[in-house]
Symmetry: D2
Subunit: 285 residues, 4 copies
């Protein structure tokens, strides 16, 4: 039996007494802190903190908790969010025609690597439908053209709302989401880019890498913002290559990277281990 | 100007209120916690913690601090140690005839990578004396034979005591220290072994690696215990090799690993980021 | 359109004229060498060589080729084998209850990463049958007990013979094959072990790694020999861990390693890039 | 006693018979090929080749060799160069005020890692002179201003010519060499840049990396061309970082990378393992 835990994520101007204040709050209500981490960044003088405690024996109900924490939060001008580990976040996967990231996510989900439900798969192609069907996933097909894009996104959003989706994972989704879409799901869309950003942003990064003659290729998962490929980076990994690696060979090697890097980002997000600070992420793992 | 900080390392049976108790203690005396990390291990149910706070404005003197913390420590049955960042630990280097780890440590020290003094270099050979001289280091020569070993170690210990040495770094020192020596400096001797332990313990690890045909070689830094090559591991790193790598080539590649792995372990120790739990280390970095 | 190529693998005592002899042979019959690599090992004084050439315009038929090469092979006392890239090797997968390596192999096969057919999946459990069915793979179920082992292996061998299987991949197959079986498929069985061998051979390597407190875990693919976990290593990879990683967490991280390491070994074998020399592999990639 | 070897590097349009022609040439004159590697790049249809053979018993003198190879080279329109392993290339080091790459190169040289002489160290500062003196190296001081740059470079070139320098290593030399200088030593100047190029070209790459919030930093060694940071890449390596790494901490971690990456590039060059093809390198290691 896994413990049910509460996870408090907060940020505020750094000053004396915050760590003590938060841990005292948990302790006073009989919570046992399982993990706590904080990070103070200069010159912004901002503190970021993640505290996780066991809910067993905790004397506040979930509703009361939110009220009870308000004075502390007010005192230190905290922005905060609380999550409970027994809630399964709802994750939608957007996919186009590349199978490997999509298949990998499903397989990991099936093996229990993600604490999440997958109520929805959205695609602008039909290629992945048989696979989704095999795994019993709901598959919605929204082909995109320049003309119908705005309308299709509206339908997609309606589906996402209906299912109460908390996280959108772009598993090599080959469409650029509109600014409106991105703003609506700010901090809730994770993309995988097949280069070690900021190198080789944009299209055909492996071709770019080949043309430049680099000795290392990479993959980057990041939150999607309105600026393409410039959102806060969550995880990156690389692999060595040589002059012998053709573009096709890079794609082959890159697939392994992309899968691992994307899966890791999804896991970190689902475990509430990421705080965004401007264009960067703070990752408490 | 760097801040002067206090670093509290502690371990105790895990139960509710420890994190809160410690952070309240710091906060009550007007300390600003800069970094705090804890780790709870099951089934032992032990908590390990490292807390670092700014000494500026802290209302307890260093002597008073030790007294003031006693009730808290007693309440939770803590084992604890406190360090202050303005004390420069005294580090002795033991070396034989291999220059690279020794030279690397000196160079890093000179570049300010280590918060430490090096009052003493001890060797069973004279080879490194010119280098020590060039860097103005005190070099003591104690050749070791089966017959004189016990006596020479006594002299070495006398030197170490005289200089108040806090940490002994074996920079490819090719002598096995006696059990008595090791016990006296328990948790204070760091060695570098040129394999990814537990593979290829003992002598000639690169030859062993060659004979086995591995595709990866490594290096391991660890605290020295009476059981050769079995002390708690601090850091490890590896590098890929191929069938083309001769034993000499492995040695060449391994040198880079050994230097980096040893230097990292020394830095972690000097920054008081390591807690030893049985045969393992907990590293708060 | 991919080129059809011939791949000659050979080993012989090293002396002058071998490289020249082989390349002259190819050239005389109007073959264009696309890739050639050799490796000479001392003190054994053995030469290992892999030569690949374009079959387009090559003036010898496949049957004639084998005859025509005989004098050269005799002159230098070569052991040699020739492969043609338009033959698809037949690969059988042995699996028990762990899905991830099996699923990964199938997915890679489907994406065209392996030049091979998969005529047969053999298992001592029924768990993976639905997955095999979904991908249209023939699944044979041979439960193993101490009593029936010899008999079941005979049936397995009959199936393997019937299908003309060239390579057996143990995708976390949790049975030890008999010496007779292993000898019959000498150099044709690839296993994945979830540690960086020779560390943590045998069972429960992640538990062993946890108990030892290593900072790196690994995976090793190797040819199966009668000595468990001691066959020639093909590929290895590692990942860093910390004290925070539980055994379960290691298993999770290790899965990614195991998949990549096994897939790479299979690809190298299928591309005829591996020569075995005693307990080691020579890999021309 | 190490063997004396000949190393032939060549490039030419790819067609049948080149490998055979070259190996026959070596074999006819009683040379034993120790290592041979080739690489054919499409769609340029260019072949690059490196052949190394034992000079013992080789029937051509060095002078005759150059004449004897001419017909073969003519037949295939080869560009070629030949090196002999008993010639020690002359390597000049350019350095400014950062000690670590410079010191590392000297130490490696002293340990025998480089087959080279270091007849000259050139600097625009005096900081490194004591170190050069300690190691008995000739140190030339040429302070650079906008006004005197052209004149100082002339003097530097005169020194380099006088010493017959074959390779210039920029060990964190903080001056941009003029186009004239770079053209004169085309393919003979190796630089170390402290980022994984093409990301973070130009100045302050660690600050750029910090600002972008990447999770990996790198180092790149490359040949210097007139386009700053755009020359052919020789080696790259990376290290993982987290949000906790300040710019200073990145610099610290990066130092290890820079040293290893630069040393590896120097070694590859000195062993004649690099061929340049346009903006890329082909590395036969």
């Amino acid at each position: 039996m896994e413990k049910t835990t509460a996870i408090l994520l907060l940020s505020c101007p750094d000053r004396k007494g915050i760590v003590a204040g938060v841990s005292k709050f948990v302790s006073e209500h009989n919570g046992n802190i399982l993990d706590a981490a904080q990070y103070s960044v200069q010159p912004e003088n901002m503190l970021f903190m993640r505290v996780e405690w066991d809910m067993e024996g905790f004397t506040l109900s979930r509703d009361d908790l939110k009220e009870a924490i308000a004075p502390l939060a007010g005192q230190f001008s905290m922005k905060w969010k609380i999550h409970f580990s027994d809630y399964l976040p709802k994750m939608a996967i957007f996919v186009s025609r590349h199978v490997y990231c999509f298949h990998d996510l499903i397989l990991r989900h099936q093996m229990g690597e993600f604490r999440a439900e997958i109520p929805l798969v959205i695609s602008n192609h039909l290629d992945m439908k048989p696979l989704a069907d095999h795994f019993g996933l709901t598959y919605r097909y929204y082909p995109i053209t320049t003309e119908n894009k705005a309308g299709q996104e509206k339908k997609e959003i309606a589906e996402l709302e209906k299912e109460g989706v908390d996280l959108i994972v772009l598993a090599r989704y080959m469409q650029i989401l509109s600014g409106e879409f991105v703003r609506r799901y700010h901090g809730k869309i994770i993309n995988i880019h097949h280069s070690f950003l900021p190198a080789f942003a944009g299209s055909s990064p492996y071709q770019q890498a080949y043309d430049r003659g680099v000795k290392i290729i990479g993959a980057t998962s990041h939150y999607v913002t309105e600026m393409l490929d410039e959102g806060p980076i969550i995880t990156q990994d690389v692999i060595k290559i040589t002059h012998k690696d053709s573009v096709d060979n890079m794609k082959l090697k890159g697939k392994d990277l992309e899968r691992i890097v994307l899966a890791k980002a999804v896991r970190l997000h689902l475990e509430h281990r990421i705080l965004v600070h401007g264009s960067k992420t703070i990752i408490f793992d």
